[in-house]
């Protein structure tokens, strides 16, 4: 157990270092980073002053060392545009993105999993056919389009919900639905496959043979065993929800990290963009690690020595 954990932790640490290096050199290799930060039409003097101010006139390796030291301390520098520490700006937006992703995850799990189980248990039911159509469509639906359709229907035509912003509690409903659709389809598909796999096993037939009603077989036995793949992909889906938030937040003007990313690109505030991508990568690496560990916790049959 500890050997496997140590190995996965070491891999995660290498990934964290690698991602930090990737983002740093990407910026250096493709041109002058200072040019990304100044407004268009800035004078050469202003560019040189900013370069000296930010330390970009020193050797690249020294810059890289300082950058890594900063990343380890979660010090992502100062926003050139707002003159405030990047971490403060990000911290003020994080709660919005977490609230949105949590609401979307609750919707995706709360609807996707029961739908998937139903589609497996009642395969010929008309609702199952509609469900399969939804799974297929959900994976092909561009979120920026479904978002606009939701706004059109619920905000413009029906006038039930606010179309954008985060002024009231109900503002989260439309972006959360929009963000949840893809994950909902994924959960439904995985839950369906997992339930079908379990239903085909001998213990189900044994339970039925001793007279247990189908409903009880499903709730008492099948759901527990079928939960394993669902739980393990849940961690990965959280990562997808967080990165999917970039587009959904832009569509609904939801003031989270995604909207901040796009606003910062427009404002040429590159320190913020870089910090958000790094944080996104770190969270994604951590969630992948969590998924691996979770997988072996919920399924004791999987040994944790990496010999899978």
């Amino acid at each position: 157990m500890s050997g496997f954990l140590l190995k996965r932790l070491a891999q995660a640490a290498i990934s964290v270092f690698g991602v930090s290096a990737l983002i740093f050199f990407l910026q250096r290799l493709t041109g002058d980073p200072v040019l990304l930060m100044v407004p268009e039409g800035a004078t050469q003097e202003a560019i040189d002053a900013l370069r000296a101010n930010l330390g970009f006139d020193r050797p690249v390796l020294i810059q890289f060392g300082e950058y890594l030291a900063g990343v380890m301390r979660f010090d992502f520098g100062t926003s050139v545009v707002q003159n405030v520490p990047v971490l403060d700006i990000i911290a003020s937006r994080v709660p919005y993105t977490i609230a949105l992703a949590a609401a979307a995850l609750a919707l995706a799990l709360g609807i996707g999993v029961p739908l998937g189980v139903f589609m497996a248990v009642r395969r010929e039911h008309w609702l199952s056919r509609i469900g399969m159509g939804f799974v297929l469509a959900g994976q092909s639906l561009p979120t920026f389009w479904s978002g606009i359709l939701l706004i059109l229907l619920f905000a413009v035509v029906l006038g039930w919900l606010p179309s954008s912003g985060a002024r009231q509690a109900s503002s989260v409903v439309l972006p959360a639905i929009c963000l949840s659709l893809l994950s909902m389809a994924t959960f439904a598909r995985v839950a369906r496959t997992a339930t079908l796999d379990e239903l085909a096993k001998p213990y189900v037939r044994a339970a039925r043979a001793k007279g247990l009603p189908m409903g009880r077989v499903v709730t008492r036995h099948v759901l527990r065993n079928g939960a394993i793949p669902v739980i393990s992909i849940a961690a990965l889906e959280i990562a997808n929800l967080l990165s999917g938030a970039v587009i959904v937040e832009t569509v609904f003007a939801w003031p989270g990290l995604g909207l901040l990313t796009i606003q910062s690109i427009a404002a040429r505030d590159f320190a913020i963009v870089q910090a958000i991508v790094l944080l996104g990568a770190f969270v994604s690496i951590f969630l992948n690690l969590a998924a691996d560990v979770l997988y072996s916790v919920v399924d004791p049959r999987i040994r944790l020595d990496g010999a899978r």
């Binding site: 561009p142 920026f144 389009w145 413009v156």
Partner: protein, 281 residues
């Protein structure tokens, strides 16, 4: 053994025929865009701004309506198919070639070279793809060519992983070992014996990636980071439509519908190709 995807589609079951038809129509529309689009996609007509679908203004019929500059939406969508399919095809080809080559090289040399390549694969895949694409395009600047480069850079590791695993398996096959022991060069063995046998699985990744690339290009263009105006891209037309959603719903609804149909079609046909290649049918 690898078969051409077109051959696989000829044997498609009847339930897939509508999707084959949609794919054919979209591809034909993209290729023949200048011939079949009713009007010039960039021709503005300030008297015909924001007209509803089916409206006629001075002999010009806007079948799917017009946008905020009075340009014909249908013509822009037909030309937009060109952009979508070209970017997706180019980025799939570029990432496929780079990824497959690097995956094969990693499996051939193993040791330090292999470890480094596969470590980079892990690292690139650990960054959420859309974030990596956004930061790269923010650094490089928008534009059709840059979007292709960015998408290829973001997605090559998918192919490298598959190529690496497949090549490792093949290198232990007797005929490949024989070819090596008879003095076959690296290029000969990989090109003549390995590549033809891993094309199938690579093709499966490519078809599944194609839909994703269409969505990525549209997403980047929607965010203003992709193909730049006035070049018509479904994503950027949608972004404009968002601003007029209360007064001119058609500008946002139709490009999204085209996009949805294209991605749905690619995903359905991609699943079929995967099932055939993996021998499930």
């Amino acid at each position: 053994m690898a078969a051409s995807p077109l051959l696989l589609l000829r044997r498609a079951p009847p339930r897939l025929w509508p999707f084959v038809a949609i794919a054919a129509i979209l591809v034909a529309g993209a290729i023949l865009a200048p011939l079949i689009a009713p009007y010039d996609p960039n021709a503005q007509n300030l008297l015909g701004r924001l007209r509803a679908p089916g409206t006629e203004v001075r002999g010009v019929t806007y079948w799917l309506g017009s946008d905020e500059l009075g340009r014909d939406l249908l013509s822009r969508l037909i030309h937009g198919a060109r952009v979508s399919l070209t970017v997706a095809a180019l980025s799939v080809v570029a990432s496929g070639i780079v990824g497959t080559a690097l995956g094969m090289i990693a499996a051939w040399y193993r040791g330090l070279v292999g470890a480094i390549i596969m470590r980079v694969v892990d690292i690139v895949l650990s960054v959420p793809a859309i974030l990596l694409a956004i930061i790269t395009v923010a650094i490089m600047g928008p534009g059709l060519g840059n979007v292709v480069v960015v998408l290829a850079f973001t997605r090559w590791p998918r192919y490298a992983r598959v190529a690496y695993g497949q090549t490792l398996g093949l290198l232990s096959m007797p005929y490949v070992r024989l070819s090596r022991s008879m003095g076959g060069s690296t290029l000969w063995v990989l090109g003549r014996h390995v590549l033809p046998n891993i094309v199938g699985p690579i093709m499966v990744v490519a078809t599944l990636e194609f839909g994703l690339m269409v969505l990525f290009e549209a997403g980047l263009s929607f965010l203003g980071l992709g193909v730049q105006p006035p070049t018509p891209s479904w994503g950027s037309i949608l972004a404009t439509g968002r601003n007029y959603v209360t007064t001119a719903w058609w500008i946002a609804v139709f490009p999204g519908l085209f996009l949805f149909l294209l991605v749905l079609t690619v995903n359905v046909l991609g699943d079929h190709v995967r099932d055939v290649v993996e021998g499930r049918r």
